[in-house]
Symmetry: C2
Subunit: 464 residues, 2 copies
C-alpha cells in the first residue's frame, strides 16, 4: 500500500512568518492576524483540505542580531509584532471538527504546573485535537525579558527539558486514575478522592507536590512535536516526540535526518515508525507549470532581502550584515553557516551561495525546499521526497496567505487524493488516533505512558 502523505500548515500569530516582504503582496491577508475572522477562515480552509493540523510557531523575543538591533525586524514586521498563539486554538476549534492544532511553547517561559493545565484545557475544549511543539531553546532577547541574565547552556537546557516533561507526564498521566471521575449525582460524588493522586515531584528544577487540577482530557498528554537538530536535540526528540519537524533543503540531507531520527528512536526502545517526520516545504501550485512559475516570479518581486537576512541572522546567531551580500559564503568558517551552505548546495549545486542568494531562498517559506508547478508536477515532487527520504509528510509554509494554502487545498489535495497518497476523509477520534490509529493516549514504550498511575501500580505489584 502506498504511504499516505501527511500535511501540516505552518503559521504564526504575526504578519511575517517565513516570507519576509510578502505581506505587501496585494492578495496577502497576513495583516489581518489580529482579527478572529481571519483565523476562523483559515481553519475552515484547512479542514476543507483535510489538513492534519495547523501548526502555530512562536517566539517570545525579537530578531535583533541583524545590524545589532531590532530595527529591521520592526520595519519589515519580521516575526514582530507577534501575538500569543494560545487563544487562537479554542477559537478555531469552534468552526472545525477534525483539524488538529499544534501549539508552540517554550519550556522556559512558564512553570509546568499552570502550563499543564492550559494544555489539558485545550485538549478538553478541542475534544482531543491538540499537539504541543516542545521548544527548549529560544531567542536570547526573550530570555533577557524574563529576568534571566543568560540562557542555560545547551546540556542544562535538555536536563531541564527532561524534568519539565517528567512533571507534565506525572500531572497528565499519573494524577487522575481513569476511574477517578464518577459524576454520580445520586451519591453526591463527582470524583473519587482516593483515585486522584498528588504527584509529589521533587526535582532539581521543580517541586510540584499536588494533584493535576484538570480531570483527564481525551488525549491526556497532547501529541508531542519537536524540532531538534543537535545530537542532544535528536536524542530528546527520539525519546519524547511523536512528530518531528525537520527543515532540510535537499533530499540528501533529509534522508540522513530521517534515518538518524528513526535510528535514535530504536535506541530509545521505540519502533522506528513511532515517529512521524514532517519536512518544511513550500508549495506554489497553479493550473499549469507555466502559471505556477509566473506566480513564483511575481512573489519573488516582493521578497524583502533585509527581512530574510534578519531571520537568518537570528537563526544562526551571526550578523549577516558583516558579509558582502554578493560574495560567496563558502569561506565563512562557522558551523551554522557552513552547514547551511552545504545543505543548500546539496539542493542546488550550481548556485553560488552569497548572503543575497540565501536570503532569496529563505524569503519564500524559510529554510525548506520549494515546489513550483502544476498539481501533477508538485504531486510528483512530493511523492519523490517521500519515496527517496522516508519522510512522512510536509510542514507547509506559505508564501502569500491564505492564497498558498487555498491553492494547496483546491489543486494539490485533489491530485494527491486521486493518486491514493492522501486521505479521502478524516479518520475519527483524537489527533493522536488520527495520526497513529492506535488510541487516544500515549502507549508504551513511550516514556510518558510509564507515568500512568495504573502502570505504576502494576509495576509495584510485579515487584512484590
Amino acid at each position: 500500500m502506498m504511504k499516505e502523505i501527511l500535511l501540516n500548515a505552518f503559521d504564526m500569530n504575526c504578519i511575517v512568518h517565513q516570507s519576509p516582504g510578502l505581506w505587501r503582496h496585494p492578495r496577502d491577508r497576513a495583516r489581518d492576524y489580529r482579527r478572529l475572522d481571519y483565523w476562523l477562515e483559515l481553519a475552515r480552509t484547512l479542514e476543507r483540505g483535510r489538513f492534519d493540523a495547523l501548526f502555530i510557531a512562536d517566539v517570545l523575543g525579537v530578531y535583533d542580531v541583524y545590524r545589532g538591533d531590532a530595527s529591521e525586524a520592526l520595519r519589515g514586521a519580521v516575526q514582530v509584532p507577534v501575538n500569543d498563539p494560545l487563544p487562537l486554538v479554542a477559537a478555531m476549534a469552534t468552526v472545525t471538527e477534525h483539524l488538529g492544532f499544534g501549539l508552540t511553547a517554550s519550556l522556559s517561559f512558564e512553570h509546568p504546573y499552570p502550563f499543564a493545565r492550559r494544555l489539558s484545557t485545550l485538549d478538553h475544549l478541542t475534544d482531543g485535537r491538540v499537539g504541543w511543539n516542545i521548544v527548549t531553546s529560544y531567542l536570547e532577547s526573550g530570555a533577557r525579558n524574563l529576568g534571566q541574565r543568560q540562557q542555560l547552556d545547551h546540556d542544562q537546557r535538555y536536563d531541564l527539558a527532561e524534568e519539565y516533561l517528567e512533571v507534565c507526564y506525572k500531572l497528565w498521566e499519573g494524577s487522575w486514575e481513569a476511574a477517578a471521575v464518577l459524576r454520580e449525582a445520586a451519591a453526591n460524588r463527582y470524583a473519587d478522592p482516593a483515585r486522584v493522586h498528588p504527584i509529589d515531584h521533587r526535582g532539581r528544577y521543580f517541586e510540584v507536590p499536588g494533584i493535576h487540577l484538570c480531570e483527564p482530557s481525551p488525549q491526556r498528554t497532547p501529541v508531542l512535536f519537536q524540532a531538534g537538530a543537535s545530537s542532544r536535540g535528536t536524542a530528546f526528540a527520539a525519546r519524547h516526540a511523536e512528530c518531528v519537524f525537520a527543515a532540510a533543503p535537499s533530499k540528501t540531507v533529509l534522508r540522513k535526518v530521517v534515518e538518524g531520527l528513526r535510528h535514535q528512536a530504536e535506541i530509545a526502545g521505540r519502533a522506528p515508525d513511532a515517529l512521524k517526520i514532517f519536512n518544511l516545504h513550500t508549495v506554489i501550485v497553479d493550473d499549469s507549470d507555466a502559471l505556477a512559475r509566473a506566480r513564483h516570479r511575481e512573489y519573488l518581486d516582493y521578497v524583502d532581502l533585509d527581512g530574510a537576512l534578519t531571520l537568518i541572522s537570528g537563526w544562526t546567531g551571526l550578523d549577516m550584515a558583516g558579509f558582502d551580500p554578493r560574495q560567496p559564503l563558502a569561506h565563512v568558517h562557522t558551523n551554522a553557516i557552513q552547514s547551511a551552505v552545504e545543505a543548500f548546495s546539496s539542493a542546488d549545486p550550481g548556485r553560488v551561495w552569497t548572503p543575497e542568494e540565501v536570503a532569496r531562498w529563505v524569503g519564500i517559506g524559510g529554510y525548506g525546499p520549494l515546489s513550483v508547478g502544476s498539481p501533477e508536477s508538485v504531486a510528483d515532487e512530493l511523492e519523490a521526497w517521500v519515496e527517496e527520504t522516508g519522510v512522512d509528510g510536509f510542514n507547509l509554509a506559505y508564501a502569500v496567505t491564505p492564497e498558498t494554502f487555498e491553492a494547496v487545498v483546491d489543486l494539490l489535495v485533489p491530485e494527491l487524493t486521486r493518486r491514493g497518497r492522501y486521505k479521502s476523509e478524516y479518520r475519527s477520534g483524537s489527533l493522536r488516533q488520527k495520526l497513529f490509529g492506535a488510541g487516544d493516549r500515549l502507549a508504551a514504550p513511550h516514556p510518558g505512558a510509564g507515568y500512568r498511575f495504573e502502570t505504576k501500580r502494576e509495576r509495584l505489584e510485579v515487584a512484590r
Copy 2:
C-alpha cells in the same frame, strides 16, 4: 436621570463555582464545562441580555483546608477540577459582538512579560472587549506547586503587585507610540522602529529591558478589575482598578465599602465615580413571587453543606470542621469569622449564624445576597440596593447554570429596561468605552496613563 444598573455574569471554568451541590440539579449543565458549545451558548445568552461582561474566576490550587485535605473538594467538585479560563475568551468572542470578558489572573503565576502579551492578544482578537481581574493573593496550595515554599507576606504581595502593574503599563502604554504602526506597503515599512521603545525596566522583582511584542490593541491596557477587602487591598484597588468587585451581604456593609472605595479613589487623585463597583448577588426570578420562592426551595434541596464548608474554610483559612455545625459562631474569635458573622447578621439579624446556616447562605451563590421573586420584586430590590448603597451594578452568581442567567435575561432584564434602569441597546466601542463612555484607553489621572510614551515626552518637554 436614573442611574443605569450594570450586570456582570460571574462564572468559572469548573463544575461548582459558588453553588456547591447544585451540579446535581437535573437542569444544571455545569458538567458540560469541558465543551466549547456550552460556553458559546452561555455567551450568546448573555449578549442577548446585554450583559456588560462575563467574568471568569480562577484559582490555581485546591480547597484543602476543610478536614485538612482536598477530599471534600474533589468529591463535591468544589472548584476542582478547574480548567484555565483564558482559552474560553477568544472562543466566546467568535459568537458575540459586544459582550465583555473579564479574566482572572494572579500576579504570582506568570511573569509579566508573557502575561502582557497574552492580554494584548485577547484585546486584539476581541476588538477591545477584555478586562483583567487582578488577583494578588491565592490559595496556599497553588503557591506550593509553583515551588514557592510560602507566600510572600501581605505587604510584600502588594509591593510586587505595584511593580507587576508598572511593568504591564510600560509594555502596554509606553512601548509603542500611537504613530509607530505605519503599514506602508509601498515604502516597505510595517512599523517605525524609532517609535517602538524598549521599556528598560529594572526593579526589585522584575527586569524587563525590551519592547512589548504586540502592536497596540484597541484598549492597550485591558479594563482593570479588582476585589480587595483589606486596607492595603482597598488602596490598591482605588489606585489601579476601574471596576471593583465587592461581596457584601447587606446594604449596611456595602454602603460602607462603596463609600470607603470612593473616598480612597479621591485620595489617589481620581474622581469618586471613576470606579464602577459591582456587588456579588444571586437572583432567582420567576413569573411570580410564589413561583420564584418554590424554585428557591427546590434549589436549596441540592445544596451540599460539606461543599459549602469546603469553600468557607478555604476563604477564611479556618477548618470549619473544627466547629459544631449547629452551634452559633458568635464566640469564635478570629477576624475572618467575626467579620463574616457581623456581615451576615446585618443582612438577617434574626438568624443564628451556625456553620450550617452560613453554609446554607453560601450554598446559593457564595457570600453575596440573594433576591428571590417576580421580575417586579427583584427589580425593586436591586433598585433599592443601588439607591441605598451607591453601588453601580451586580456581579451575578448562578445557582443553576445556565438557568439562572436565562431567567435574568428573559424576565429581569426586560423589567429593568422598562424602568429605564438598564440599557436598551449596547453602546458601541470597546469595553472601556461602553462602561465609561470616555474613550478606549486609560485616561489621566489613572496612573497607567502616565506611562504613555507621549505623556512622558510632554513631561520632559515641560521640564526643559
